[in-house]
């Protein structure tokens, strides 16, 4: 009996000890030999089938070119920041991170990232806006292999049947969308969900009308929100925009339920795969003829967290390879992004006519974090809430934006 008891005691103590040991886990050893490591971990959110495949090809190419093994991890977009923060607190950050450019400020502010210029990565020739998006307190922490922006994508057949020209101004857009609506179909689809995605889709209207993020309740801002609200109220766009993310918007367009959509260039690769769908692309309509639309600059920037000198060096080798002209072109062609270096983009526009409107837009595109830096996400959330309140009919555009400005000013 006593032997049994002793075994039980030993057994349970051992089990407890194991529990404690496994809970704590092994701490990663960071050795530094000065040589680039032979292996790095990489994190991105290209989780859709087409994008994931295209990105894997670029990683494979660069793994071959540098001789560095790349362990890839992919998380859904909305899990990116939570995962990075979790990894930052447990000091298990991946060696190379590709994150949405407006989140870079947040990550850089933690002190977890290293300036890219430390590794001799050149920042010459890039669009100003993407450099601004990747800069935190005077240092460049992130560079993008490709950028994107929103444009108006239209169904050629549906527009031709209705005798409508692709709209260039707000007035044209409202008229065309109304004409193309009816019978359960809508002229225009866009996304106005209560998150960054909704703000990003609204910004082209907001900025093109001369509004600034520092004053959400300016007359220009109210006018922009009123225009978008009227599109929904007049039935030119479905009220479901409140609940559609950009993938849903593309689904509506592909299904023929929407004749036009505001969406990003990355959808073109998917639209090309659809049989019998002819589409055209024009820039997002501007408030008046003759003015250039101002869209928000999108795209993921590559950043190198502090994970140990040899691993950082290896990550820099890989990032350099991804940013090299031919790989940049390969990725941007495969995923329908715009190259982030001006000269490369011009060459790209010559070879890809469908991408021309996007290339033109990127030249005037603005970085979302350029003026507000770390404060951008808070302002973006307030703006998305105002958009929802106005489209849902809870508040007038004026009231909704005034409330948003109060919310931002409160802290």
């Amino acid at each position: 009996m006593s032997r049994v008891a002793r075994h039980l005691v030993l057994g349970s103590v051992a089990a407890t000890a194991m529990l404690v040991v496994t809970a704590c886990g092994p701490s990663p050893a960071t050795e530094s030999s000065g040589e680039p490591a032979g292996e790095i971990s990489e994190l991105d959110y290209y989780a859709d089938q087409q994008g994931s495949r295209a990105w894997q090809q670029i990683l494979d190419t660069c793994s071959r070119e540098t001789g560095i093994t790349i362990n890839r991890q992919t998380v859904p977009t909305d899990q990116m920041l939570p995962k990075i923060l979790k990894d930052a607190s447990s000091r298990t950050l991946p060696d190379l991170v590709f994150t949405d450019n407006p989140t870079l400020q947040q990550i850089a502010s933690t002190g977890a990232l290293t300036p890219l210029t430390d590794y001799g990565i050149s920042i010459d020739g890039y669009y100003d806006s993407i450099i601004k998006a990747g800069t935190y307190e005077g240092e460049v922490y992130g560079l993008a292999p490709g950028v994107n922006g929103l444009a108006l994508i239209y169904n050629e057949k549906l527009l031709a049947e209705a005798g409508v020209e692709p709209p260039r101004t707000w007035q044209d857009l409202a008229t065309a969308a109304r004409k193309l609506s009816g019978g359960g179909k809508y002229g225009l689809a866009f996304s106005a969900i209560p998150s960054e995605e909704g703000t990003w889709q609204f910004l082209p209207f907001f900025w093109s009308n001369g509004a600034e993020l520092s004053a959400l309740d300016s007359p220009e801002a109210v006018e922009a929100l009123r225009f978008v609200t009227e599109l929904v109220d007049s039935g030119a766009a479905s009220k479901s925009v409140l609940n559609w993310n950009q993938n849903d918007v593309a689904d509506q367009f592909v299904a023929g339920n929407a004749a036009m959509m505001i969406n990003g260039s990355w959808n073109l690769a998917r639209l090309d795969e659809e049989q019998g769908l002819d589409y055209g692309v024009v820039p997002v309509p501007a408030p008046e003829a003759g003015t250039d639309p101002v869209v928000a600059l999108g795209g993921e920037v590559g950043a190198i967290p502090a994970t140990g000198a040899d691993r950082q060096q290896a990550a820099a080798e890989v990032l350099k390879c991804i940013l090299a002209e031919e790989n940049m072109l390969a990725w941007d062609t495969a995923h329908a992004y715009v190259p982030s270096r001006k000269a490369t983009a011009e060459k790209f526009a010559r070879d890809n006519p469908a991408m021309r409107p996007f290339v033109t837009e990127v030249e005037t595109a603005r970085s979302r974090t350029a003026e507000l830096g770390e404060r951008y996400p808070k302002v973006s959330q307030a703006l998305a809430t105002a958009l929802q309140a106005a489209l849902a009919g809870e508040r007038s555009p004026q009231e909704a934006l005034a409330a948003a400005q109060r919310e931002v000013g409160r802290s």
């Binding site: 039980l8 920041l81 933690t110 209560p194 009220k239 489209l391 009919g393």
Partner: protein
């Protein structure tokens, strides 16, 4: 034991000593059995809870995750949360969501359990099919419901139109007034199997002889339910309602997938709001933690209620 019995001739002195040693060893054994449980509770419940409380009392920012620096601010986060105009809305939504979900989940679950208590062909098969909503990942069922509830092309509006229950399309997910009922309906659908299974088990435990005796005394179906089933099912009912409450008050994924808290915060409950505070743009992790602590507090209060009622019903059963 047999060893001790075979040695009656031994002196009395060593016996108490051995017994003392025995109880000491027993205490060690008892402790050893307790240690894994204690370690588990401390590691996986105590530690996160203490951390969350500590986070809610600090100005925890994105930077804090890396540097570990988070200045102590006392009750500031709780005050900020209570001052927020969204607080009342989130509390009201949480209460409506929880009460609405549980009332229907329980009602429909009980009706189905009573129905399946009778034996009939394919009853077992049908009952196991009803478990499907429970087995599906919530993200999957949530995404499917989102399509079905679509205003223009959703199958639900098409069905309502086909049977003549609605003229125009119901703006399920796009109208602030309809969105909360819509997510409640989705959550009811998800919760029915759980209620059905537990209540069905409870019904099986009621002796058939009681129903026979009641029937012999002339009790009708309603009287049999009211005076036999209902009282004998009470302990199970208490468990189901209690667990249902704790499960429902913390529902997150269903709302997140179906509406994301929108439109215009119409479906923002305390859980989704806690997430929004932390990750939605403000990165006010302290405030997010404060909201989730309030939720933990509410769930604990109901848990204590349940334990008390369980203890008194055990005492009742003992007398």
């Amino acid at each position: 034991m047999t060893v001790v019995a075979q040695r009656p001739a031994e002196t009395a002195a060593p016996v108490p000593r051995r017994r003392r040693r025995g109880t000491g060893r027993q205490r060690w054994v008892a402790l050893a059995f307790l240690v894994p449980v204690l370690a588990y509770v401390v590691l996986f419940f105590g530690y996160p809870l203490v951390n969350n409380v500590s986070m809610s009392l600090r100005d925890y920012t994105v930077r804090s995750f890396y540097t570990g620096e988070a200045p102590f601010v006392g009750w500031e986060n709780y005050a900020a949360v209570l001052r927020d105009p969204l607080f009342t809305e989130a509390v009201v939504n949480t209460v409506v969501f929880t009460v609405g979900s549980i009332a229907f989940q329980f009602g429909i679950g009980l009706a189905l359990a009573l129905f399946f208590a009778g034996r009939f062909p394919a009853g077992g098969l049908l009952r196991s099919l009803l478990l499907l909503p429970w087995l599906l990942p919530l993200v999957v069922s949530g995404a499917v419901w989102r399509w079905m509830l679509d205003q223009d092309h959703g199958v639900i509006n098409a069905a309502l139109r086909a049977v003549g229950l609605a003229d125009g399309p119901t703006p399920w997910l796009t109208d602030p007034g309809w969105a909360l009922p819509a997510v409640i309906i989705v959550n009811i659908w998800i919760g029915i199997p759980f209620n059905l299974v537990i209540l069905h088990g409870g019904l099986r435990a009621i002796p058939q002889s009681l129903y026979e005796a009641a029937a012999l005394d002339g009790a009708g179906p309603w009287q049999r339910f009211r005076h036999v089933t209902w009282p004998l099912l009470r302990p199970v009912t208490a468990v189901v309602l209690m667990l249902g409450l704790v499960y429902t008050i913390k529902v997150f994924d269903v709302i997140m997938v179906v509406t994301g808290g929108g439109p215009a915060n119409a479906t923002q409950t305390l859980t989704t709001w806690s997430y929004h505070l932390s990750f939605g743009g403000g990165f006010a992790f302290g405030e997010g933690a404060a909201v989730s602590n309030l939720l933990v507090l509410v769930a604990t209060v109901f848990g204590l209620f349940y334990l008390r009622s369980a203890r008194s019903s055990i005492a009742e059963a003992g007398t």
